[in-house]
């Protein structure tokens, strides 16, 4: 579904990522680790087309990113749920409208989705905060809301950038369980994190591969965890 072939990226200086190849297929579960500044966020951005590779090829759902129109990219993003590291909310809209935003912009908002939204908010424990504005929320609440927004479109792929950075252990376990359940329904999951405890907990539930960015390249880690 998402395929990176010998991708390199540079923000203008030297190359931050070189010769990265990665394939996300239905039902796969990946963790992406690496020290801060290694390029995890950058790699995720390449996966949903916010950044274009400086060389190599990015394929989204069988199409080359370079050949896609802007509307194609928009429609592709409706199939990829992303938990952004900074959450990326609209600060003037209450939480429930932020979570429903992907439905709104794709013209799918409606009564039928209303129940879905309530259920999802209950799942991430934010029912009571539905009318709060994003700036009024704690970091953990924002991340839970961001995950809810990432999955509301029932996407084929879920990319999560440090989704448990600000939540307590119990909540991070719940978020993980939600992601594992979605994965068992056949969705591909890629989580960027440096929370090793989370990775260990996941490995007990699902066959997860661990990728590490080291020296600008992507390595398959495994045994050391």
């Amino acid at each position: 579904m998402i395929e990176l072939e010998n991708v390199a990226h540079s923000y203008g200086g030297g190359e931050l990522l070189s010769d990265v190849s990665l394939k996300l297929v239905p039902g796969s579960f990946h963790f992406l680790t690496g020290p801060s500044g290694a390029g995890k966020t950058t790699l995720l951005k390449l996966c949903y087309g916010e950044l274009l590779p400086t060389s190599g090829r990015v394929g989204l759902f069988g199409r080359d990113l370079r050949g896609m129109s802007r509307d194609d990219i928009a429609r592709t993003r409706q199939r990829i749920g992303v938990v952004h590291q900074d959450c990326a909310f609209l600060d003037h809209l209450p939480l429930d409208e932020n979570v429903a935003l992907p439905l709104t912009v794709s013209g799918r908002a409606g009564l039928s989705e209303e129940g879905n939204l309530r259920e999802l908010l209950a799942w991430v424990g934010l029912t009571a905060r539905a009318n709060a504005l994003p700036p009024e929320l704690s970091g953990g609440e924002r991340q839970r809301a961001a995950l809810a927004r990432a999955v509301i479109m029932a996407p084929d792929v879920i990319l999560a950038d440090e989704p448990t950075g600000n939540v307590d252990w119990e909540m991070s376990q719940r978020l993980l369980t939600l992601l594992v359940e979605l994965n068992k329904m056949g969705k591909a999951v890629l989580i960027a994190t440096h929370d090793l405890a989370l990775i260990r907990a996941a490995k007990a539930q699902v066959a997860a591969r661990v990728l590490r960015i080291k020296d600008r390249r992507l390595h398959l880690a495994g045994a050391e965890l």
Binding site: E50, R70, D71, A74, R77, V82, A88, V105
Partner: protein, 300 residues
């Protein structure tokens, strides 16, 4: 969908889409004010164009078809020269009628200048002959030559000497009115582009988020376009109404006012300024849309 329908659907509003962009504050009121002021000016530019157009038509229509022959001759020769001129005119191809103005009519013509008691008969007033051409027209230069040969006291005046510059001036005024309308439209587009750009820059973050969650460019552009086109329509509506009221209450000048009497709308022309508000909305629509799409092209 026709452009009008599209505009209606657009302005009817999609509350959801409007909410994704926070209120754009003063830039929107700038648009209302600009549209109102420009519409007010457009009403006058339109009135000017229509009035001068009517005037030019009237002048060329009324003056093109008539000419005069003026005969100044000593008392004894007048009859003979009038007869000679009438004969020439009768045999000139392209002339429909020639009529010797009776004394009463000549007096009426002179009255505004000399008062009612002027004894025309006792004065050496030239005799006037009114000439109307038929559709085909006549050869003015040839006619002048023949008159000079057979009636030396006759002067042929087909009014072109003073008609042409008048008609040309009226035509020029009409063109200036049209140019003004065009400039008003361009200035409106420029002002709305500027305020739309300010609104877009202030909402760069909102636009980026919308794009990230899968909004298409047209969806994002529409949220801005609807706002600016709607405000332009409101502003232009108010400005047009004020302009039309101002024109309706222009003090009447009498017939001697000539040009000024005509400034205004005649009959069905009153419907034309009603096109100004939709035109303003249309201009705002395209200006905002172009500005929004330009901004959007900068992000993936």
């Amino acid at each position: 969908m026709s452009a009008a329908q599209r505009l209606r659907v657009l302005l009817a509003g999609d509350r959801q889409a409007d909410r994704v962009v926070p209120p754009t504050g003063f830039t929107v009121w700038l648009t209302v004010f600009t549209a109102a002021a420009m519409a007010f000016l457009a009403v006058f530019a339109l009135a000017l164009s229509l009035a001068t157009g009517r005037l030019a038509d009237r002048w060329s229509e009324a003056l093109a078809r008539t000419a005069t022959v003026r005969i100044s001759a000593p008392e004894g020769q007048m009859q003979a020269q009038v007869a000679a001129v009438m004969e020439i005119l009768r045999t000139t191809p392209g002339i429909a009628t020639a009529r010797v103005l009776p004394e009463a009519e000549q007096r009426a013509l002179l009255e505004p200048w000399f008062g009612p008691d002027l004894p025309v008969a006792q004065l050496p007033v030239p005799q006037l002959i009114e000439v109307t051409e038929d559709g085909a027209g006549y050869d003015a230069a040839g006619l002048r030559l023949r008159l000079a040969g057979e009636a030396p006291g006759a002067v042929f005046d087909d009014h072109t000497r003073w008609r042409r510059p008048l008609v040309r001036a009226a035509g020029r005024l009409r063109a200036l009115g049209m140019i003004s309308l065009g400039l008003i439209a361009l200035a409106t587009a420029a002002m709305i582009t500027l305020s739309a750009k300010a609104a877009l820059a202030a909402n760069a973050r909102v636009i980026a988020v919308l794009r990230l969650v899968g909004a298409r460019d047209v969806y994002i552009a529409r949220a801005f376009v609807r706002r600016f086109a709607g405000r332009a329509l409101q502003g232009a509506g108010a400005g047009t109404a004020l302009g039309m009221v101002a024109i309706a209450f222009l003090p009447e000048a009498d017939a001697a006012g000539g040009f000024l009497t005509g400034l205004g709308f005649a009959g069905a022309d009153w419907a034309l300024p009603l096109l100004i508000p939709p035109a303003a909305a249309f201009v705002a629509f395209w200006a905002t849309r172009a500005a929004a799409l330009r901004v959007l092209r900068e992000i993936t």
